[in-house]
Symmetry: C2
Subunit: 222 residues, 2 copies
DNA sequence: TAGATTGTTAATCGATTAACAATC
DNA sequence: TAGATTGTTAATCGATTAACAATC
């Protein structure tokens, strides 16, 4: 019996993305079934957590065999939106914005970058892969006419909130914020932060918190 | 009285990065003090959480005035390693790797990219900003001789574990993993995942989970 | 069949919030 | 002084883990 309960806790959703990635790797190796224990071992979790997580899905495992990978991938893909193509615009044609617009991984995973915008007149008109950088004042019409789903904010931190407001006004459905600033949105427009600098700071903290060893002095060599 | 307890829970560390970023913004605007309530409002938290978090620091606020920003920034910077320069190598000279190596934000925040490596002979020798792409077989000596602190993995997912193993063998102190694969490290080498595709999937899920409205159909237009 | 593995309930653990005395 | 705001304790909430009957 499976809970069809629609609301999945964020902590679980975050792990579902990891299950999906791992299952795709397993399937690429022609594996057809996996147990909660194997999944847990591969991802550094407990089998209890895995079974608890998967019980949120409308999908059952089978005693003694585990979970059938093809079915599990299908349902995870559906839940995480990996079963359709999402239209994405990138705001900011700096290094990060250009990298995202070019990075193959996104297109391959169903995130189709269909426009890139920048406030800098010097950048407008330049090419990024097959896209031409558009001016900011074209953003609202572009988003609403093409029914763009997701906006990625890759501008300097100081401009992040302004860009978010404009995206929301244009009818965007969700925002990925790559700046390290906190951005406020009305509840109906979800926002996820992917703050790489913050990740580096977490890492720096973890390095410092390591019990220092003779060959591992506790501050960076600079 | 402040707990000088050395171990700060990861959930708190993650918020500390946000406090630091916000405090830097406030200070840039010449503000000198902030209350837990104001901080909470700006970051979408409760004042209780803020006070609880800051109690892990060796730093006290003052009744009726709040927290003195200069002192708070200093101590947060120390805890998050933002008070020194960290030496970073980027593995993978694809779009993402090149963007990171070029992105000004990292250098500005104390993460100095001092080398970029790639397994592809066609990329070796090409320039990325002021750096020359080096071959993988030079990685171990480079890391150990220059006492590089952090390795950033920006290679295809299939190669991620192999690169991590090599970095660890070379004596790296921490790893930032940008692939969506899970990478295993021995406990002494901390690893942080900054999985951008996973963030997009979280976002896609959140968009779908939105209560659908007439003008907001529940699947992406494709 | 016997043994492995699920799904689920109950127990534990950790994180967040509420409340309030202390204090500037 | 009176009022605002801290630091901390206790209460609540949520997430993880343990345990085990059901079952293939």
């Amino acid at each position: 019996m499976t809970r069809k309960d629609n609301r999945i806790p964020p902590s679980v959703v975050r792990r579902l993305t990891r299950y999906l990635a791992h299952i795709q790797t397993l399937r690429a190796g022609r594996q057809e079934w996996v147990s909660s224990q194997d999944l847990a071992d591969s991802l550094g979790l407990t089998s209890s957590t895995v079974r608890q997580d998967l019980s949120h899905l409308d999908f059952s495992g089978i005693s003694k065999r585990g979970y059938e990978l093809e079915g599990l991938e299908t349902i995870l893909a559906r839940i995480l939106g990996a079963d359709t193509v999402w239209k994405v615009v990138v705001i900011g044609a700096g290094n990060l914005g250009r990298a995202l617009a070019t990075h193959q991984d996104f297109a391959r995973r169903g995130y189709k970058i269909c426009g890139i915008f920048d406030a800098d007149a010097g950048k407008v008109g330049t090419k990024v892969a097959s896209l031409t950088v558009r001016p900011m004042n074209r953003l609202p019409a572009f988003v609403s006419r093409r029914l763009v789903d997701i906006g990625v904010i890759a501008v300097p931190a100081a401009a992040a909130q302004r860009v978010a407001d404009l995206l929301i006004l244009s009818g965007i459905r969700g925002i990925l914020n790559l700046t390290l600033t906190h951005v406020v949105t009305p509840g109906r427009v979800p926002i996820v932060d992917a703050r790489i600098v913050a990740s580096l700071q977490e890492l720096s903290h973890a390095i410092r918190a390591q019990p220092p060893t003779p060959e591992n002095p506790s501050s960076p060599s600079s």
